[in-house]
Symmetry: C2
Subunit: 243 residues, 2 copies
């Protein structure tokens, strides 16, 4: 069983103006990773229909799953649902189940046309329940459409993850060291060359005078992962002892 | 003078595994925005040379500036600099000024080949000073290559921003309201239609029982921005009074 692949589209002008900091990508990446689905690229897209439609059309055939966040509210700048309809060549129609969910959530006098428009989806879409604010997300083909507000996205993601077919999980181990990257780069390359099936990432951190590096090893084979981690650890110990 | 455009590439497997949350994009977007340069798209890319090179080649001609973060350290997973050389069809060579910066920063006995490799850049690149950890970033053509660690990126960004040609600044105003999106969506669309040159974004927030919406108006013409904000404010006041 190979690892499956996903592409994440973070949709919204506010992410590109600096007004809002995305908090969804790491949550999505983590949960998908635990299911054996690797996020191979993510894009932050503006509220621009051409860009969104083109990106969906290009990526839906290239990965196992496309997940989107943002742009499914009731206002004029919420265009994700209609873009998905265009991308999958389906009519953009009112979904009876989504309308029922909205009618269950809102008092009749509060359910105006703008709110009802949140039930408009590509024909044939299935719903992603929204326990927080009523208006559901949806999925069609391999595209999963979620809200952008992190608390709502998180609730939708749990449902989405349950509906994805798992792939081979990528296991990881992290080694922390006070050696600096430049001191161990050569030794690190040697271990990486010896274990090409284990991906080793080197992530330095700097906080005032406290510096260190986290070495993250990732592999689908836990046995090889353990071997590479042991090899790396003894290499690091030898380097530290030699200082 | 039109607004200029930029593309931001956030490079690193750790951003796609969920291990690290990007903090650089909002900072870059904010600073570029103040200079009249709009970030029109951002991508989170893996440490994969083909993907990085293809993306740079596709986007460098399409925007005024491409900014990258990440992948310029001394370890085997730091491949951004060589990818940029490939993308701009230049030899990947040791930069004398960068080597001098490293020799000034490190004690001679600490400056090994791995650290010196941080001076390897596309031929003809200019340096972006790194006051934090010595190893400079660089720019060539319209591509600006910065570190991924936020404190280093921030210092490099100040230098970069000084070297970019300004465009027309997009001014913004934010109106806060306790009306919900669904209650004002229709009125919001009417104001948006009346002011097509002012982009209105609607951003709900939910924190426990506290809900509200921020309406962000953005335009290059401050006079039109003020007019649209005034129109929107009186519309919101009328809606609130009618509740």
């Amino acid at each position: 069983m190979p690892t499956k692949t996903a592409m994440v589209l973070l949709i919204g002008d506010e992410l590109l103006s600096g007004r809002t900091t995305d908090k969804n990508l790491p949550v999505i990446a983590q949960k998908l990773g635990e299911k054996g689905i690797a996020v191979i690229e993510a894009r932050v897209l503006p509220d621009n229909a051409d860009v969104i439609v083109d990106t969906l059309r290009a990526w839906s055939p290239r990965v196992d799953y496309v997940l989107t966040t943002g742009g499914i509210g009731p206002t004029h700048d919420d265009i994700t649902a209609s873009c998905v309809a265009q991308a999958v060549d389906r009519p953009f129609v009112r979904h009876a189940g989504a309308e029922a969910a909205l009618r269950a959530y809102y008092k009749p006098e509060d359910l105006n046309e703008a709110r009802l428009s949140m039930a408009d989806m590509p024909q044939g879409a299935d719903l992603i329940p929204n326990p927080v604010t009523g208006a559901p997300g949806f999925f069609i083909n391999n595209i999963f459409v979620m809200a952008g507000v992190p608390s709502i996205m998180g609730a939708m993601l749990d449902f989405v993850v349950d509906h994805l077919t798992p792939g081979a999980v990528i296991h990881s181990q992290t080694l922390a060291t006070t050696l600096m990257e430049g001191e161990m780069a050569h030794a690190l390359s040697a271990v990486q060359d010896q274990y090409p099936d284990v991906k080793i990432g080197s992530y330095p951190h700097f906080q005032g005078n406290k510096r260190g590096v986290s070495l993250v090893l990732r592999a689908t084979d836990p046995h090889r992962l353990n071997q590479a981690a042991a090899a790396l650890e003894s290499t690091l110990n030898a380097l530290t002892a030699a200082q």
